[in-house]
């Protein structure tokens, strides 16, 4: 059962990711991206990270993508015309992606080899959110506080940058 | 706070005073600067009077730890070699401030600060006995000079000239820094204590292979400063673009740091290498003499002509140093001072002409000696002194150098003496085109003669020009012992025979009984 669900999410997310890249209209790309995020949320569930799945849906699909859509709408961008003068760039991009993919496959193999020996028991931890919260507020308290400041900075930055120019 | 430290840092305090002073009232600023430089000069006369004549070693030595960890000490002191160079710097700083009274209009405050900083740098270089301290002052002296040329030079190519001057000297001094560090570590490894102290470095036994590289590194830095033949192209540019005062100080004092460096560092620290490089450096010096004189002949710009004449004169000095005998080196020391006065005065004179006519091309002048008779007499005296007319200061130094060179290698003297003829040719040709002939150009007719201030300055220079020529004994008595010390240090570890006579290294010439001696040796 889990296997089937994984394959569905995997295929759907890849298909929609490719569509996101190829779509002319930015809004369509945004929508495709939302679908990809949802599939990922499902995979998090499969991996037993319910809390993160929820956060994923809320934060990414909910907040960030809405923000994206909002900005796209604000700038009412027309379709991206295929800029003529850039065949060269596409070529480079294509080749680099190809090589990148191959390399990454190698790496994942390599990484996995290093990790293979440590397959711990996949115990499903009850109360995933409690565990995450407990860990978050003990061991990772400092990063937690730092991220709050980071968010504050981001807010101020966004206001200043996008604020009403005099 | 010993005598030397006061002299070195008084101008610095003066610079601070000027910095505080009111910007718009430029005359008060100049007055402060003049007062400070005069005070420094009078104190430095204390050095002269307190100097023990017969003693060749360092006197007035002050030593205070600076950075113990690295073994860097604040050690200063003078001997016969640096005594008169310090006096020259203090005196010429006074002359510089006086000469720049009317000359500099814009940014007077910064100008005076640069001048006083330059003075500190100059004196510091001549008095420091710690290699690190020497290098610090060497760089300190560079920056104000760069600013002097770059900011107050004449607008045409001053930036090019300033940058060229800076990069040329910097290139050389970086190599010197490397050499100093090598010396430092070698000193550490061979004697256990890491120190930059010059005196203890003198005692080091450096293997010949290392000596050669160190000699070349130090030598290059000093050769660029002298300037010797291949490295001299910065001098004409720096001189033509520098303000009058800038080129006076540049010619009179800064050029001497190169030759002083040879005497203070290259010869005593690396004797075997020095003896090895004598033919090379003497050769370059000879080329410098003849080349400088020949090229000076065809210059259309007076300042450029005088610059090339300095290349020729300093070629003599280097030849004197590398004759490696008492007469040659004492003559070289004297010629350094003479060149300071005669070329300094020449630049002052050209500056005065430039102030009146705002041009330096010889062709623009003609028949000035009728229009400005007082100016003509001073110009005549200085020209004759730079030609080396006996009775004036140039001759004593030049004759001793030629004598020293002749003792070591007669051929050197034969070529070097050619420089004496060429000097007469280009100086008199220039003098004739500027001063004689009829007053054909309209602007020359209305030039006003020297003001009282200008006469006072030139009188000071003329006094020393004559005094050196007629009675050089007090200077020679103080220089000779220190030169003998340096020579003895070179002789101890090289093939040269007894220090006093400084017999020629290779062959002895002419007289029968000396031939017999040569056979025995």
């Amino acid at each position: 059962m889990e296997q089937v669900l994984f394959w569905i999410c995997g295929v759907v997310s890849i298909v929609f990711a490719v569509m996101m890249i190829l779509k002319r209209n930015p809004v369509h790309s945004a929508l495709c991206l939302i679908v990809v995020f949802l599939c990922l949320a499902v995979s998090y569930l499969l991996l037993g990270a319910e809390f993160l799945a929820a956060v994923q849906v809320i934060v990414y699909a909910g907040a960030i993508m809405v923000l994206f859509l909002f900005v796209i709408m604000l700038l009412n961008l027309d379709d991206e015309v295929h800029s003529p003068g850039k065949p060269r760039m596409a070529l480079i991009a294509g080749s680099s992606i190809g090589s990148g993919l191959i390399l990454l496959f190698l790496l994942t193999g390599g990484v996995f080899k290093a990790l293979s020996g440590t397959r711990g028991a996949e115990k499903v931890v009850a109360g995933n959110t409690q565990a995450v919260a407990e860990l978050l507020f003990t061991k990772y308290l400092l990063p937690f506080e730092v991220t709050s400041i980071l968010l504050l900075a981001a807010i101020i930055g966004a206001i200043v940058l996008a604020g009403k120019k005099g | 706070m010993g005598l030397i430290s006061t002299i070195t840092f008084l101008p610095l305090i003066g610079a601070a005073l000027v910095a505080i002073g009111p910007r718009e009232k430029s005359t008060t600023l100049k007055a402060i600067a003049l007062a400070v430089t005069l005070l420094t000069f009078f104190i430095s006369i204390g050095l002269f009077t307190g100097f023990a004549v017969g003693d060749g070693d360092f006197q007035f030595v002050e030593e205070r730890p600076w950075v113990e960890g690295l073994g860097i000490k604040y050690k200063v002191g003078i001997d016969g070699i640096s005594l008169f160079l310090v006096l020259l710097s203090t005196l010429l700083s006074v002359v510089a401030v006086a000469a720049s009274w009317a000359d500099i209009q814009k940014r007077v405050k910064e100008f005076l600060i640069c001048l006083l900083l330059l003075e500190t740098g100059m004196i510091g270089v001549f008095v420091s006995l710690d290699l690190f301290l020497f290098y610090v002052f060497w760089e300190v002296m560079l920056i104000p000079m760069y600013l002097l040329i770059g900011v107050w030079g004449n607008p045409a190519r001053r930036v090019y000239a300033a940058v060229k001057f800076f990069i040329y000297t910097m290139f050389g001094s970086l190599l010197m820094l490397v050499a100093i560090l090598v010396l430092y570590f070698y000193h550490g490894s061979s004697t256990g204590t890491y120190s930059f102290d010059l005196i203890s470095c003198y005692a080091l036994k450096i293997p010949l292979s290392m000596q050669i590289w160190l000699f070349l590194a130090f030598g290059l830095a000093f050769a660029i400063k002298v300037p010797m033949f291949p490295f001299h192209t910065w001098l004409p540019d720096a001189h033509t673009e520098a303000p009058t005062v800038g080129s006076v100080l540049l010619a009179a004092v800064l050029l001497k740091m190169g030759t002083y460096g040879f005497l203070r560092f290259n010869l005593p620290l690396f004797p075997e290498a020095s003896v090895m490089f004598v033919p090379l450096l003497a050769g370059l010096a000879l080329v410098g003499i003849i080349y400088g004189a020949l090229v000076a002949m065809v210059q259309a710009d007076v300042k450029r002509l005088v610059a090339f004449s300095s290349v020729s004169h300093l070629g003599f000095v280097v030849l004197g140093i590398f004759a490696l005998n008492v007469e040659g080196m004492t003559g070289a020391m004297l010629q350094m001072l003479n060149h300071g006065f005669s070329t300094g005065a020449l630049f002052l004179i050209v500056g005065m002409l430039y102030e009146r006519r705002h041009t330096r091309l010889i062709a623009d002048f003609g028949g000035l000696s009728k229009v400005m008779p007082v100016f003509a007499t001073f110009f005549m005296i200085v020209t004759l002194s730079s030609i080396g007319l006996p009775g004036l200061n140039g001759f004593v130094g030049e004759f001793l150098i030629l004598l020293g060179a002749f003792r070591t290698e007669p051929l050197w003297a034969v070529f070097a003496a050619l420089g004496v003829i060429l000097a007469a040719v280009y100086m008199l040709w220039m003098f004739q085109r500027v001063m004689f002939g009829e007053v054909d150009k309209e602007e020359n007719r209305t030039l006003k003669d020297l003001s009282l201030r200008e006469v006072a300055i030139l009188l000071v220079m003329a006094f020393f020009i004559v005094q050196f020529g007629v009675y050089p004994k007090p200077y020679i008595d103080r220089i000779e012992p220190s030169v003998k010390v340096v020579l003895k240090r070179v002789e101890e570890r090289t093939a040269l025979k007894d220090a006093g006579r400084g017999e020629p290294i290779k062959r002895v010439i002419f007289t029968q009984h000396e031939k017999k001696q040569a056979v025995q040796e």
């Binding site: - | 006996p390 002749f406 004739q432 007289t511």
Partner: protein, 636 residues
């Protein structure tokens, strides 16, 4: 009184200081007076010292007065001191005497010149340096006088600096002198290396046993010294500056280029007679060059039309005689001719000066003629001078020139023949000058109002004429004790005793008398030829010049020496240094320096291309970097 010798040189110095610095406000008379009195002072002191030395026995006549040490460095010790001995006294007397007379003369001659004060300052400075040169006690001090005199001749030749020609002539004189001084300088260094000192007394005392006679060292020293002498006394290679030196005021030519400065070379050779007698090769070189110069200069003198140029070439020729005398070892004869020449040559120059003064600056003899009636006093004094120069019996020139010719005959008949030809030519061109200016029909154009010079100029002419006549009697040949000058000089020249050819046997006397008549005859023949060509039928010179036009033009243009030396020396040096500066300095060295700067610039421009401005290009860089790192870390 001897140790007041430094007073002799001090007086002119006081004159220079007074006239030069304080004299701006003095009226002309006072300036002239100060100048002349200063020289008179030194002349009188010289006479007092001369009298005192005369009373001393011959042996102790040389003494040295040292003032202070000038340079004491290493093994070199030079002090400022003066040598009082017969030779220097003779020179002192001649120099101060003649210059005093010329000072008086120039008070009149330069009366209306606006550079009057400057002129007297320079003249006094010149006499100061000349007296130092003559009475120095060491080579170095003599060199000080040597170059000082060169400087003053530069200043005085270029006195009228407004005009271009004098300025050029001055510069030429100084440079050519400097070339001579180059030789002197090298000789001094050689002497110092050999003897460890530069003082005359020690050098000449040590010379015979330190230097091997005829050896390389002594020959080189003497030849270099002679090069210096040639520079100063205008001998063959370095005489080019003297004819141009006539651009200066005439009293200057009289003083510097006739009486004193040019004789400095002869004095130096005589002073170093000890060294020269040790180097026979150098003696021959001196003699040959002397003889050559005598003939060569006389030949050019034949064709000159400018009266001062004629006298200039005759000076060069007479100097040739003096060197000829020294070359054959007759140093005292050389000095004797030097002294007499100083008198009559100064007289001739001053005479020419007063002719110029009367003719409002006209120098070209072709525009003169029949001035005899208008300027009688000048004519008669000029005639006496010419007779003395030509070597006619009772006059000074006869005795001194004859003594030289006689001593030369002892050595080699060829040189004697040269000397005789020279004498013939001298007599010819001198009388040609006299006939063209004073006799024949007047070619003077009308508006020139010819007048006799003022008395202040004529008295000096008279005195010099008297000296030209009486001068000869201090060196009478044949009669015992007649040659008082030679006896007086013996202590100085005796040092070189064995070199001199002084064996006057009894039977020689008759032969010498015959030779005196022969030289007198040669001189008279010259005069007769001149009279024939310029008085009897003036057409002859034109006809002669057409027929030998090639030779005539050659001699007239002074053998094209000036143009040749300009082309051979001056141009190549100028172009060479131009090339040196342009090619070597600018292109090579500056090129390398700026080149390194340019290379840096070009390299940085290539690197700039990386900044394409394309954001994605940079991203590509990142990814590439990441891949590379991962590859290295994991796959390697």
């Amino acid at each position: 009184m001897i140790n007041y010798i430094w007073m002799v040189t001090l007086f002119p110095l006081i004159g220079v200081v007074l006239n030069g610095l304080a004299g701006v406000k003095f009226p002309r008379k006072v300036t002239g007076a100060i100048g002349s009195l200063a020289i008179l002072g030194s002349f009188l002191t010289a006479c007092l010292i001369f009298a005192e030395v005369l009373r001393l026995p011959a042996a102790q006549r040389t003494s040295e007065v040292v003032l202070f040490t000038w340079i004491a460095c290493g093994s070199l010790l030079v002090n400022i001191g003066f040598l009082v001995d017969p030779l220097s006294l003779v020179m002192l007397l001649t120099v101060s005497g003649v210059s005093f007379i010329i000072h008086i003369y120039s008070m009149g001659y330069m009366a209306e010149d606006e550079g009057f004060r400057r002129y007297f300052t320079y003249l006094n400075l010149f006499v100061f340096f000349m007296l130092i040169l003559v009475s120095a006690n060491s080579f170095l001090l003599m060199f000080v006088g040597w170059e000082g005199v060169g400087l003053c001749s530069y200043l005085l030749i270029g006195f009228w600096y407004q005009r271009r020609a004098p300025a050029d002539a001055g510069k030429k004189a100084f440079v050519v002198n400097r070339i001579g001084d180059y030789g002197f300088l090298l000789a001094m260094m050689l002497i110092f290396v050999t003897f460890k000192t530069l003082d005359f007394s020690t050098v000449f005392a040590a010379a015979p046993h330190t230097l091997e006679s005829g050896g390389l060292a002594v020959t080189l020293i003497t030849l270099l010294l002679f090069l210096g002498a040639c520079g100063k006394s205008a001998q063959i290679p370095l005489y080019v500056w003297l004819p141009d030196a006539m651009e200066g005021p005439t009293p200057v030519s009289a003083l510097i280029h006739a009486a004193t400065m040019v004789t400095a070379g002869v004095y130096m050779v005589v002073r170093c007679s000890v060294l020269y007698s040790l180097a026979p090769l150098s003696m021959d070189v001196v003699a040959i060059i002397g003889c050559l110069t005598a003939i060569y200069a006389a030949s050019i003198g034949l064709m000159q039309n400018d009266i001062k140029r004629v006298l200039a070439y005759s000076t060069i020729s007479q100097l040739g005689y003096m060197f000829l005398a020294c070359g054959v070892g007759a140093f005292s004869a050389g000095i004797f001719h030097l002294v007499t020449h100083a008198f009559f040559k100064a007289l001739l120059f001053l005479g020419a000066g007063s002719v110029m003064h009367g003719m409002a600056g006209e120098l070209d003899m072709r525009k003169m003629g029949a001035l005899k009636s208008k300027m009688p006093w000048t004519y008669w004094t000029f005639l006496i001078g010419t007779l003395a120069l030509a070597g006619i019996f009772p006059f000074a020139g006869f005795f001194s020139k004859d003594e030289i010719l006689w001593d030369v005959l002892q050595k080699s008949t060829v040189l004697w023949a040269g000397g005789a030809i020279g004498a013939f030519m001298t007599a010819f061109y001198m009388f040609r000058a006299v006939f063209m200016t004073f006799h024949g029909e007047s070619r003077v154009d009308e508006q020139v109002h010819v007048h006799e010079s003022p008395r202040v100029m004529l008295i000096p002419l008279g005195v010099l004429a008297l000296l030209s006549v009486a001068g000869g009697f201090i060196g009478l040949p044949l009669i015992e004790g007649g040659n008082r000058l030679k006896e007086f000089l013996v202590p100085v020249i005796a040092l070189a005793g064995h070199g001199a050819a002084a064996q006057h046997g009894a039977h020689e006397a008759g032969f010498e008398a015959v030779m005196m008549v022969v030289s007198l005859g040669v001189a008279l023949a010259g005069i007769a030829l001149a009279w024939l060509m310029y008085i009897k039928n003036p057409a002859v010179p034109e006809k002669l010049s057409e027929r030998l036009s090639g030779l005539y033009r050659l001699i007239y243009n002074k053998y094209f020496v000036d143009e040749a030396c300009a082309a051979v020396i001056v141009e190549p040096v100028k172009n060479g240094s131009l090339f040196l500066w342009r090619a070597c300095d600018n292109k090579v060295i500056d090129g390398a320096v700026n080149g390194s700067g340019a290379v840096m610039l070009r390299a940085s421009r290539i690197l700039q291309r990386v900044q394409t401005g394309m954001v994605q290009g940079y991203a590509l860089g990142f990814v590439g970097g990441v891949i590379a790192v991962l590859y290295i870390v994991f796959a390697m």
